[in-house]
């Protein structure tokens, strides 16, 4: 089934005078994300657009104000978004081995009232969607996480999260590609590399990809 035609008007906000944010909705939803990715792809083909990046349910557009005004581009975006998006190709499937021994795993299980083994089963069961790649090089926001695992972010983010940490927050999961500060709950780690500086594009994941975690030793 192709995604349904949108009847909602898109909210478009300026980001300075050379960029804008087009919001398709505010829910974590595969259909909205599919439409955002299709809209970004359509906008990238325009001469007056320098860059278009899909978020979960939005598109951030850098444009050339010498070629088009904010108002005219906003109107074009609303016209483009009313078109039925093309059928999305199924994203590439990545199978990621995880050693479920993260420093927050037991605390997560306790807060959720689950056994550790149950947390592992719940996390490794779904095939997640990569909603967007961003934040730091190689990071992919994936989800939706099972409702039973939903927790707010850590109150005090860590100054440094080890590379390869598998983490959850809200209805999302992700893997830290580099050692960076982070506020998500660390439940495991993987040896799979996510960022390859010598490749173009350098990120293992692309928006629309699918990811399946499985428990593995070592």
């Amino acid at each position: 089934m192709p995604p349904p035609r949108s009847t909602h008007k898109i909210r478009v906000h300026p980001l300075g005078e050379t960029a804008l944010l087009a919001e398709l909705g505010s829910r974590l939803d595969t259909g909205l994300n599919t439409r955002a990715i299709a809209l970004a792809a359509a906008l990238k083909k325009r001469r007056d657009v320098r860059q278009a990046t899909a978020g979960y349910a939005s598109v951030t557009v850098n444009f050339d104000p010498d070629q088009i005004t904010f108002e005219a581009l906003s109107a074009s975006i609303n016209r483009l978004a009313r078109k039925r998006p093309p059928m999305e190709e199924p994203g590439r499937l990545h199978r990621i081995p995880v050693r479920y021994d993260g420093p927050d795993l037991e605390a997560v299980a306790e807060r959720l009232g689950l056994r550790v083994q149950h947390v592992v089963q719940l996390h490794s069961k779904p095939i997640y969607r990569v909603f967007l790649v961003g934040f730091v090089p190689g990071w992919a926001y994936m989800g939706p996480l099972p409702e039973e695992l939903e927790l707010p972010r850590l109150e005090a983010p860590r100054k440094q999260v080890p590379a390869g940490s598998v983490a959850i927050a809200g209805r999302q999961t992700g893997i830290y590609p580099l050692a960076v500060p982070g506020g998500w709950h660390l439940i495991g780690r993987t040896a799979v590399k996510l960022f390859f500086p010598d490749r173009d594009p350098p990120s293992l994941f692309r928006a629309g990809d699918r990811v399946k975690f499985f428990a593995a030793d070592g």
Binding site: G16, A54, N62, G134, P201
Partner: protein, 309 residues
């Protein structure tokens, strides 16, 4: 490639930068590039280059360089009291160096970042379409790192003409004394109460110590935002983000490419060079303007670059 300058002392943080890699955001890699595009572009035009050529971005304390061969350079941006062979030399003007000449910097008088362009453009490692140095992953420019003593700077193409006399008219050179940053209201400005909104546009903020090419943390009134958590979206340089806790963060060239904190204001492009010249401890304030005014300020900066002769 022509070897042109030898690095005797690297300065505090000197990196190779150009106009960045805007298309790399799809992999989570920041666009990067020169923090002060106006000074970077002006230096290139004065040296007879395209604006897209790479320059040296010198932070707080400039390097000491000696010419290996005769060359033409231009220094713009922050005023670090440049000297050639010990004598004060003009900024925003082409300077012809002979083999053996020394370019050095004195104390900082204004601004934070100076730009050195060399006729022919600075050569470096290209990564994802740009020579810009990105320190977090050690890619681009001089092996992904700041300049070090003993490095040799080469030019991308041999300079056509050794005779350059370009300069920017005095009246059009920025002085970096006015720290008012002009902004357009952001997509989540309506999440601020009218009292908080008045504080955003009426208060003086101070750059916190942990401010760098990624972003500036701003000390001042805490601007707590109401409303549900946002889904992450693509970010642009110049965004004023409000994380939980309400301490604003101004995103700069090496910013995170996506995030979910409310964006309450975005700098207009004409104010980015002003922001690029701020250092921890500097005070700033935000002034809300409309799109039309932003476009006029943008045109004024273009006209200033076009006046370089």
């Amino acid at each position: 490639m022509d070897e042109v300058l030898k690095v005797e002392e690297p300065g505090l943080l000197t990196t190779i930068q150009d106009l960045g890699r805007p298309h790399a955001v799809a992999s989570g890699v920041p666009p990067g590039g020169a923090m002060d595009r106006f000074a970077h572009n002006a230096a290139n035009l004065i040296a007879g280059n395209e604006m897209s050529a790479a320059t040296l971005e010198c932070t707080v304390r400039g390097p000491r360089l000696t010419a290996i061969t005769e060359c033409v350079i231009a220094v713009t941006g922050a005023d670090f009291a440049i000297r050639i062979n010990g004598h004060e030399a003009p900024m925003w003007s082409a300077i012809a160096l002979d083999s053996g000449d020394e370019l050095a910097f004195g104390p900082r008088r204004a601004g934070a970042r100076a730009y050195i362009a060399i006729a022919g453009g600075v050569a470096g490692d290209r990564w994802l379409g740009s020579l810009s140095t990105y320190l977090m992953v050690g890619q681009g420019g001089m092996g992904g790192r700041p300049l070090a003593a003993g490095d040799v700077i080469s030019t991308a193409v041999p300079a056509e003409s050794r005779v350059q006399s370009g300069s920017m008219p005095l009246a059009l050179r920025p002085t970096y004394s006015d720290h008012t940053l002009r902004v357009i209201g952001g997509p989540h400005l309506s999440r601020l109460t009218s009292e908080r909104r008045a504080q955003l546009f009426g208060s003086v903020f101070t750059l916190a110590p942990d401010s760098n090419r990624m972003g500036y943390r701003l000390d001042g009134p805490r601007l707590e935002v109401a409303g549900p958590e946002l889904l992450s979206f693509g970010l642009v340089a110049g965004s004023v983000q409000l994380p939980s806790g309400g301490q604003p963060i101004l995103l700069m060239a090496d910013h995170q490419t996506a995030g979910g904190y409310p964006v309450v204001a975005v700098l207009v492009s004409a104010s980015m060079p002003v922001a690029a010249q701020l250092l921890p401890g500097d005070e700033l304030r935000f002034e809300e303007i409309d799109l039309e005014t932003a476009l006029r300020l943008r045109a004024d900066q273009r006209a200033a670059l076009a006046s370089i002769r």
